[in-house]
């Protein structure tokens, strides 16, 4: 409990000092949030009551927009077309979608499976939740913000459970989180540089290429390792690289008791920084943080995935405060996903006590590789946006988009199935062992 309080205090202390940065990308700058009050059909001007300001701001409808595109008396996000002038509207999206029963059920199910994955491998969920929210009608920034706000309570509950099982290394988690937060700042700087030089399409392309490259390389490596271990051809031992790095006796040395290792801060800090940089770029820091802790620092998959939940909690809490300050969190979506994911995350966490270390690696690599396919399917679109290849025809565009979306669903389903099967097997085996032990005791 003391440790949890320590974490919360650290988060609170860190928050004001680093309010310039945002986990998972900054809230958009050229966006106005508020409610349209009046519209002048002659001049094509619309007045909007902007959140946090008393007066109204007059915006001009952009090219091709009609009066019907302006929803009245609803909270909206207005993107401005800065190239056309300071107050020209590019597009308007309604911030709060209407909740229907179907949407509620969808959120509950996605939350449940996303939580299961998160409790099991320490990360995951964000990569599927954000696109899912967007396809159900939420604007991108609101989806990212609402996801972030659901991530930290979920990770907190998961981290607590896995700490109770003796798996989470709080100290390692804290070190990783603090360095990752610094890494996020660096990542954002790089993102901004690319955005300024190559625009939105260039930025999308950069993000996707990094995403696919990292996920394929790391995912394939983890998968190979998992397969080797599952065949029993290799013993589960500290990876060679980590062993070598642990031998480097460079001050300051850090001791991690739960992870049972001692390693120089000069190794730990770069891993955290890189995780943060990638988190800012591809929004799934866990996919690099967990393999980093396993193969570079030398913690077991069980400890790494549990520790990642500590990292996710701290980074998520800090990110949520940022997004909250921007006023972009749709609490309804956050809480609906949370309803499922708080069950899922605890189920996933208890599931880890029944499985072997390699099962965690297997699930993680499967998810990484399928998610890479999902993002890879978007690359041709970005390439044609930059005129690097010929424009895609409509059919191909639609097909690639649906490949991208369904790959995510497949990733979720595959992960859900592997986890469930492994967990049931483990439980049945544990029960048989218990019964056998019981029989021995009675005699």
């Amino acid at each position: 409990m003391k440790r949890l309080v320590l974490i919360i205090l650290t988060v609170l202390l860190l928050t004001p000092g680093i309010h310039q940065a945002y986990a998972g990308g900054p809230p958009p700058k050229n966006v106005v949030k508020g409610v349209f009050t009046t519209i002048d059909t002659k001049t094509m001007d619309a007045s909007i009551k902007v959140d946090g300001h008393d007066g109204v701001r007059v915006l001009h409808l952009g090219e091709g927009m009609t009066v019907d595109d302006i929803p009245m008396d609803k909270k909206v996000l207005v993107s401005l077309d800065t190239h056309a002038g300071p107050n020209v509207i590019k597009d308007v999206s309604v911030m709060f979608m209407d909740m229907t029963v179907t949407k509620i059920i969808a959120f509950l199910i996605i939350g449940l499976i996303g939580g299961l994955l998160s409790g099991f491998i320490g990360s995951g969920g964000a990569f599927v939740l954000t696109p899912a929210m967007m396809s159900l009608g939420a604007p991108g920034a609101v989806a990212v913000a609402s996801n972030m706000c659901h991530k930290f309570p979920k990770a907190m509950v998961g981290a607590y459970k896995r700490w109770k099982y003796g798996q989470a290394d709080i100290k390692l988690g804290l070190v990783m989180a603090v360095t990752a937060i610094i890494g996020v700042q660096v990542g954002i700087k790089i993102q901004k540089f690319i955005l300024d030089h190559w625009g939105n399409a260039g930025s999308n392309l950069y993000v996707s290429v990094v995403f696919v490259f990292v996920l394929v390389v790391v995912g394939a490596y983890v998968l190979m390792d998992a397969i080797k271990l599952s065949k029993g051809s290799a013993e589960e031992k500290t990876p060679v690289l980590a062993m070598k790095l642990q031998r480097i006796n460079l001050w300051p040395m850090m001791e991690f008791k739960v992870a049972k290792l001692r390693i120089s801060a000069w190794i730990t800090i770069p891993v955290g920084l890189l995780t943060g940089m990638l988190a800012a770029t591809i929004a799934v820091g866990g996919f690099i943080g967990v393999p980093g802790m396993i193969y570079v620092i030398g913690a077991s998959a069980l400890v790494s995935s549990a520790t990642e939940l500590v990292v996710a909690f701290i980074m998520g809490a800090w990110g949520s405060v940022q997004w909250g300050i921007s006023g972009l969190i749709d609490i309804r979506m956050t809480l609906l996903i949370l309803a499922g994911s708080l069950i899922g995350v605890q189920l996933g966490a208890l599931g880890t006590t029944y499985v072997k270390d390699y099962t965690i690696k297997l699930v993680m690599s499967a998810v990484m590789l399928i998610v890479a396919v999902s993002r890879g399917a978007k690359i041709p679109g970005y390439l044609s946006d930059l005129n690097l290849i010929a424009a895609l025809n409509d059919k191909l565009g639609v097909a690639l988009n649906s490949v991208s979306f369904w790959a995510l669903m497949v990733a979720l389903a595959v992960a859900g199935i592997i986890i469930t099967v492994a967990m049931i097997k483990g439980m049945v085996q544990a029960r048989a062992e218990e019964n056998a032990a019981g029989v021995v005791q009675q005699h």
């Binding site: 959140d51 946090g52 909270k75 911030m95 706000c149 300050i325 006023g327 609490i331 544990a430």
Partner: protein
Amino acid sequence: MIQNETHQAQLHVNSTKESSAVGRSKATSTSTATQTAYTPKKPVGKMVFFGALSLGAYLLLFSKETLVTQTYTLGGWHAAFPVLTAFLFSFVHGAFASNFLTVLGLEAKSSH
């Protein structure tokens, strides 16, 4: 899951951590704990309590949907609303979820 054992006697050996064992008087102690018939009580009451509390909170929030979404997205210090609400729900609903899984018989593998 594992409720069909009859009677168990457990020996706990409480050793201190290896790294700090030197020079401590509190070295190794042995305690005996006798468990009567191992039939864990299912926390049905707790589950119902937290479930009702959680459901109530959800219903309250969704019945005031417009007010809530407007206030929570004003930005600035209003950030405290969504963050604290998420915290609160994670405790209440998290407690429900935990008890719910226990009632279903899904528990972590016991480590003995």
